[in-house]
């Protein structure tokens, strides 16, 4: 996997979280998975098509997801991740993916992102792609986020 397609997602995550006032984000863990599989409470997945095919999965514990949505809603407490909350979380991930694709380098990027699907549930087991996957965990005052990048080329 070419690092030039990884860094834009990391920068995008820092940038978007920064826009919502979360500036204490640090990379806390880096691992490689043989398949893009996740087991978190909440996962938002976007596909990539075009010159680069693959999937990007943003995984959150429930508390982190609620904290993100709260930040997006100007600090309003979020007790439950309802339909509006899920939509906000999906938009958060869409912003990161869009931000990353814009950094891929060409004026007319041949890569497109698909609309995100948000999957919620306990004991969910998900295989996203049978490709080598880079999993990067980020820690901050709002909790942990795992960014999974599984690209086919």
């Amino acid at each position: 996997m070419d690092i030039k397609y990884v860094n834009p997602f990391i920068q995008g995550l820092f940038s978007v979280l920064g826009q919502f006032g979360v500036t204490d984000v640090v990379k806390s863990k880096l691992s490689k998975k043989e398949t893009l599989s996740v087991t978190h409470d909440i996962t938002s997945i976007s596909g990539l098509t075009g010159d680069i095919g693959g999937n990007i999965a943003y995984c959150f514990p429930e508390e982190t997801a609620k904290n993100i949505v709260s930040k997006m809603m100007m600090g309003m407490p979020v007790e439950q991740l309802d339909q509006m909350g899920r939509s906000a979380l999906s938009e958060f991930c869409n912003m990161i993916t869009g931000n990353a694709i814009a950094k891929f380098g060409s004026d007319n990027s041949p890569v497109k992102a698909t609309p995100p699907s948000v999957v919620i549930g306990k004991d969910v087991f998900m295989v996203i792609s049978n490709v080598d996957t880079l999993a990067i965990e980020f820690s901050s005052s709002i909790g942990t986020i795992e960014l999974n990048i599984g690209l086919e080329n």
Partner: protein, 175 residues
């Protein structure tokens, strides 16, 4: 086309894809289950619009797409049907839904349905659709949310379990 389908067609025909195009997905579900599993997938009722987030039947495979419209298709099925599919395709006797080959079997079925359908749509409607790699998942009470997408489902019964084939896409000028 039934009255309900016609109403949905008229409502969403301006979105790049319309419910008339969905018949190709219906046809390919029936064809793939017939050809690869020797199983009749019988449609239950008419296509229906989903107003709420979906609760998975047990195991689901999602393939998203971009092009003149973007969205995703989902093959969702009962756990017992997924095990039957995997056992039929591999000749093994799986009992665990999380087994990689069970997940891969469901994913591959959706790959065939979505792949065939997109080829048909690109050839006949020039939608220029590109597919992302499939995702497959299982869990209890799993909610699949698709914010800002119009979502429609076909329901099938196979005799070994139920199938839901859901098509969701951006746009739809009717709303």
């Amino acid at each position: 086309m039934t009255t309900q389908s016609l109403v949905l067609y008229q409502k969403y025909r301006r979105g790049g894809m319309d419910t008339n195009d969905f018949e190709v997905f219906h046809n390919n579900v029936v064809k793939v289950f017939d050809e690869f599993l020797e199983m009749k997938a019988l449609i239950q009722g008419d296509i229906s619009e989903e107003k709420e987030d979906l609760i998975s039947l047990g195991i689901s495979s999602i393939i998203s797409f971009t092009g003149k419209t973007s969205g995703r298709v989902m093959l969702d099925m009962d756990p017992e049907l997924a095990l039957y599919v995997a056992n039929h395709l591999t000749g093994e006797n799986f009992t665990d839904l999380k087994d990689p080959l069970v997940l891969a079997s469901v994913s591959e079925l959706n790959n065939m349905v979505a792949g065939n359908s997109v080829v048909d749509l690109n050839n006949n409607k020039e939608l220029d659709l590109w597919l992302a790699p499939p995702i497959v998942m299982t869990g209890t009470n799993m909610i699949i949310a698709l914010p800002k997408l119009k979502s429609f489902s076909y329901l099938f019964d196979t005799g070994k379990g139920k199938i839901r084939y859901n098509i969701a896409f951006k746009g739809g000028g009717g709303s």
